[in-house]
């Protein structure tokens, strides 16, 4: 790890001020550190200044009416254990509880989970000077792409690593961002952007901005669930995941939001699947149709064709799970 200077920001204002002091060189925020410390050890990120932003809001507020707010510095373990959240937004709490390991959830924050960099092994190993590091090629294209994207057409084929982002988008959530000019809120499904729009990050966040929290809209008559397919049950990244939020009118789906995880450089919203679900009573056959529709446009590479099937399964099971059915 290259040496760096360190700022312990005691407040959000201090954190923002520190990030804006550009004359000090390259500045990065440090929350839980699970991602950043590894990136620095591997020389993928070499900042001049690291700003500890643990003083950002960390409260979890789930009012009986109105939107829920989770502070960016809330620990994933606390999100997972929050009873009110689990009741109102079960997919969110469950996703938080599925991240990594107990130690990772104890350190990791909501903001860090959204902002973490891809786990792509070409990105993470210094020897590969890939597109995301200013290089000329994506090594996954004709390489070891078993965990890479099946959507998005590149030119970089990472999958987005955030577990929380998937249900966040399914719930129609927003990301609260603060910068030197104040705060703004961004629709979660516009927060993450494809590599052709930002090769050197995965979001619209500016270097002098911080995620300060996430907002979940009040839900009515909504069934929701998340389903992740992991190979190892102990500690593993999902091969694919899905989160769904179905607004019901009686037994019929009034509107649906469907998001797939780990299949594209961003959490992948499937309007095709949403359309299939709209106006239907949910049963296995409808779930199948939605899954087929969601994956119809998938373009797998040499080694990741299996992810199409896995993603279909994840989505089918998420839909059925949302209805309260017992799934594997």
């Amino acid at each position: 790890m290259k040496a760096f200077a360190y700022v312990n920001a005691r407040s959000q204002a201090e954190a923002l001020a520190a990030l804006s002091t550009a004359s000090r060189g390259r500045i990065v925020p440090l929350a839980g550190g699970m991602d950043l410390v590894g990136l620095m050890k591997d020389y993928i990120v070499q900042p001049d200044v690291v700003v500890n932003v643990k003083a950002l809001p960390a409260d979890i507020t789930v009012p009986p009416q109105g939107q829920a707010v989770i502070g960016a510095a809330a620990r994933l373990a606390d999100v997972a254990a929050h009873e009110g959240l689990a009741k109102a937004y079960p997919a969110m709490a469950e996703a938080a509880g599925s991240v990594g390991t107990p130690q990772i959830r104890n350190l990791g924050t909501v903001g860090g989970n959204l902002m973490q960099r891809p786990r792509c092994w070409y990105f993470r190993n210094e020897e590969f000077h890939c597109l995301k590091k200013g290089g000329a090629r994506c090594f996954a294209v004709d390489g070891e792409n078993q965990y890479h994207a099946i959507f998005g057409d590149g030119p970089c084929h990472i999958v987005h690593p955030s577990t929380l982002a998937v249900p966040l988008i399914a719930y129609g959530g927003r990301v609260r961002v603060a910068g030197p000019e104040g705060e703004r809120e961004i629709e979660a499904d516009r927060f993450f952007v494809m590599p052709d729009r930002n090769m050197f990050g995965e979001t619209v966040l500016e270097p002098n901005e911080l995620v300060t929290g996430i907002l979940l809209p009040p839900l009515r008559n909504t069934l929701s669930a998340t389903y992740e397919v992991k190979f190892k049950q102990s500690h593993d990244w999902p091969i694919a995941s899905a989160a769904v939020a179905l607004r019901m009118n009686g037994a019929v789906v009034e509107s649906a939001r469907v998001v797939l995880g780990y299949v594209a450089p961003i959490p992948w919203r499937s309007q095709a699947a949403e359309q299939v679900l709209r106006g239907k009573r949910i049963d296995e056959a409808v779930a199948w149709q939605a899954a087929e529709a969601a994956l119809a446009d998938a373009k797998p590479m040499s080694e990741n064709g299996y992810k199409v099937q896995v993603a279909k399964t994840a989505l089918r099971r998420a839909i059925m799970k949302a209805t309260g059915a017992q799934v594997v």
Partner: protein
């Protein structure tokens, strides 16, 4: 690289005349918790990684980022000037070719570890990159660049027996299939490395090694100093699995840095270096054609096999494994690629040979529509002390519930399919040559000393157990000292040779010490020394415990002359040749391809069980390594650049607690055979049993390890294409 070979020893030795194993042991074969438990659970145990010497510097090694390149220039000047740097040296020199990513180029020692790493990055190395071979297919391809000067492929001799043509003629069914296994790395949790400290011309090295004496020899040879000037200490050691038998490059470099800097140097590798450069289990591919008669007898076996042990290293493995193919031929070739060379890894070769043979056995059994266990029983070699499968298969089948196995393909509806499979193993596990020293002091304290080492298997505990058993003392009355090359010679801990080499030496040495004690106190008691026995903390006339002395009283009669006795391994207390079988049950989700191992039953022998508790732990550990081999582990090189993509513990997958099956171990005690090693056998057949269970579950075979979701789904898709259903 030095490897510990299987030792040929009789399967059933003649009973040792003077110090036979006791018929009614007090400690042996009991469940004795390991002695170093408290030190390890409190963090008090100091591993080589934990050694801190006054004025100690931190060493780091710069390694090649290329799989194949010629070094044009190494410029150390910037590194030498860097803050805190006390020594810098080039390991390679201009003109030298590096043959794999991670090959050593230069090294640094500095006051802090961070300074050493900073300085490494200031070393300028210019490489001329050369064409490389990333895969076996690359190396074998026609027109492949000649990377290894005697050829990228080394053809082995054909092994033949019987009449192959006649064998195939006698076959009612012929199965043709190709089986393959991946490269697996050792992933010892304590990485390779050491701390080196010079005192004049004398070197003390705390090394994470499986061989204190072998490593002493390695240091002396490489540094050109007498072995008498080298001391190697390994009090605690964080796993080796076959990869740690000498100082290695990093050990020699560490000693040189320490000399250069005039200060002790700590040099332990990091996880990435560990994956790249400290050994691995070679891959294997077995293209087999085999025949079986209508009544289920094996008739013929013809195999072409290859594998890669990396840059210039072999990839041999036994094939066919265990079962009797009267007519057979096997040709093997070693394929070289630009990757870190292989080293012995827990039962070298056996898991590969077992996997190919046991999968084939199930396919042949299916061909003749026989139960796989019944089929195996028909084709096993005759029963012998070191070949007990005919007895163990039925025992294990019963414990496991094999009768509930359905034919190939779980017929129950739903995405989760369950299946069962089995496989057998064999190993040598004899040992010899160990020496020991025993002291009995006038205050009654006892020291047993042996230059072996405990690599995590419980060697220190069994040393103390055997001495205490022999002296009739409680375990805590004996102080066992091991892990130092100043102690009497013992060989490396590999090949399951440690217990059978060490325990006889301890038995004999402690026995001799006791004989001397008896001789010295017999006159006090006024009896003949030959009438005395030691038991229950007393020395007394056999059959008359009242006629004797407590141990302490007896020792007090030693006056100012303690007993100090040397002894060594003798025949009659250990043997060679183990056998075992394993059964596996799995659940496969056919909609995701995810396999979970739910149960393993293991029936295994290792001669006389020394410590029931730790021997079972060895079995459990071997099985879990087998689960990892079956499902998760894979050293993956990028097919284009030849660089490893997963040199970490995140994408180099290893099972965690939630991935562990229920494990049932039944050790078959064979006290009449004496002690045999148990390190390797239990890891051999796990993956094969799991792969057979997966096939039984999903009704189609995945013939390639690891059994990842992509392969499972591909096999299912292929089956569906062929019109098969579950």
């Amino acid at each position: 690289m030095r490897q510990v070979p299987e030792v040929a020893a009789p399967a059933r030795p003649d009973r040792h005349e003077r110090y036979p194993w006791p018929d009614e042991p007090v400690l042996l074969s009991k469940r004795i918790p390991r002695l170093d438990g408290p030190a390890k659970v409190t963090g008090a145990a100091k591993y080589s990684y934990d050694i801190r010497r006054p004025g100690q510097l931190w060493g780091r090694i710069l390694r090649s980022p290329h799989p194949h390149a010629r070094i044009v220039l190494i410029d150390l000047t910037e590194a030498e000037k860097a803050p805190g740097v006390k020594a810098v040296l080039a390991i390679a020199e201009p003109g030298k070719k590096v043959m794999y990513q991670g090959e050593e180029v230069a090294a640094v020692a500095a006051i802090t570890e961070e300074q050493a790493e900073d300085a490494l990055r200031l070393i300028k190395v210019k490489y001329e990159t050369l064409p490389h071979l990333a895969t076996e297919a690359d190396a074998m391809r026609e027109g492949a660049p000649l990377v290894f000067k005697d050829g990228n492929v080394r053809e082995g001799d054909a092994e033949e027996a019987g009449d192959l043509e006649a064998g195939f003629k006698a076959a009612a069914h012929v199965v043709e299939a190709t089986y393959s296994t991946q490269v697996q790395t050792h992933v010892s949790l304590e990485t390779h490395g050491c701390v080196c400290e010079w005192d004049g011309d004398n070197l003390t090295a705390w090394v994470s090694t499986q061989a204190v004496h072998g490593t002493r020899e390695g240091f002396a040879q490489a540094l050109g100093i007498p072995q008498a000037n080298v001391r190697v200490i390994t009090e605690y050691m964080g796993g080796g699995f076959g990869s740690k038998f000498g100082p290695d490059v990093q050990g020699i470099v560490c000693a040189k840095l320490a000399k250069l800097a005039g200060a002790p140097v700590h040099l332990m590798l990091d996880r990435k270096e560990e994956h790249l450069a400290t050994g691995n289990r070679p891959s294997s591919t077995s293209k087999i054609r085999a025949g079986v008669s209508a009544d289920g007898m094996l008739t013929a076996f013809d195999a072409e096999t290859w594998g890669t042990g990396g840059a210039g290293a072999g990839s041999g493995f036994p094939l066919p494994y265990i079962y009797v193919f009267p007519n057979r031929r096997r040709r093997h070739k070693d394929v070289f690629i630009n990757a870190g060379p292989q080293r012995a890894m827990r039962a070298p070769g056996h898991p590969q040979g077992c996997f190919a043979t046991e999968m084939l056995m199930d396919e042949l059994a299916d061909a003749v529509k026989m139960d796989p266990v019944e089929f195996r029983l028909k084709n096993l070699p005759p029963e012998a002390p070191n070949a007990m499968w005919r007895r163990y298969f039925p025992i294990a089948a019963e414990r496991f519930g094999w009768s509930r196995r359905h034919p190939t393909g779980d017929p129950t509806p739903g995405p989760i399919k369950r299946g069962m499979g089995c496989a057998a193993n064999r190993w040598g596990g004899g040992g010899q040559g160990t020496q020991a020293h025993c002291e009995i002091n006038p205050d009654g304290s006892v020291i047993i000393r042996c230059g072996t080492q405990d690599i995590g298997v419980g060697t220190k505990t069994i040393v103390a157990m055997v001495a205490a058993e022999t002296l009739g003392l409680p375990l805590e009355a004996v102080k066992a000292e091991i892990g130092d090359s100043r102690y009497p010679f013992s060989g490396g801990s590999g090949g399951s040779t440690t217990a059978p080499a060490v325990t006889p030496a301890i038995r004999v040495t402690a026995g001799k010490a006791l004989d001397e004690l008896k001789a010295r106190i017999a006159p006090v008691l006024g009896v003949d020394a030959s009438t005395l026995v030691a038991s229950n903390g007393r020395i007394h006339v056999q059959g008359d415990p009242s006629k004797g002395l407590t141990w302490k009283e007896a020792c007090r009669h030693l006056g100012t002359q303690p007993i100090a006795v040397d002894g060594r391994w003798e025949r009659g207390l250990s043997a060679s040749g183990t056998s075992g079988v394993q059964f596996a049950e799995v659940e496969v989700d056919i909609e995701t391809g995810v396999t979970k191992v739910t149960r393993i039953t293991c029936v295994q022998d290792c001669g006389l069980v020394v410590d029931q508790l730790t021997a079972e732990s060895q079995c459990i550990g071997g099985i879990i390594m087998g689960v990892n081999y079956a499902l998760y582990e894979h050293r993956l090189l990028d097919r284009n650049t030849g660089l490893m993509v997963n040199p970490n513990m995140e994408f180099y997958l290893l099972a965690g607690t939630s991935d562990i099956p229920e494990i049932d171990v039944m050790l078959m005690n064979q006290p009449e055979r004496g002690v045999i090693g148990i390190g390797e056998p239990p890891t051999i057949s796990t993956a094969a049993a799991i792969a057979n269970a997966v096939a039984n579950a999903i009704g189609t075979r995945v013939r390639s390890l690891p059994l990842t979701p992509d392969k499972v789904l591909a096999a299912l898709a292929e089956r569906e294409k062929a019109g098969g259903t579950l």
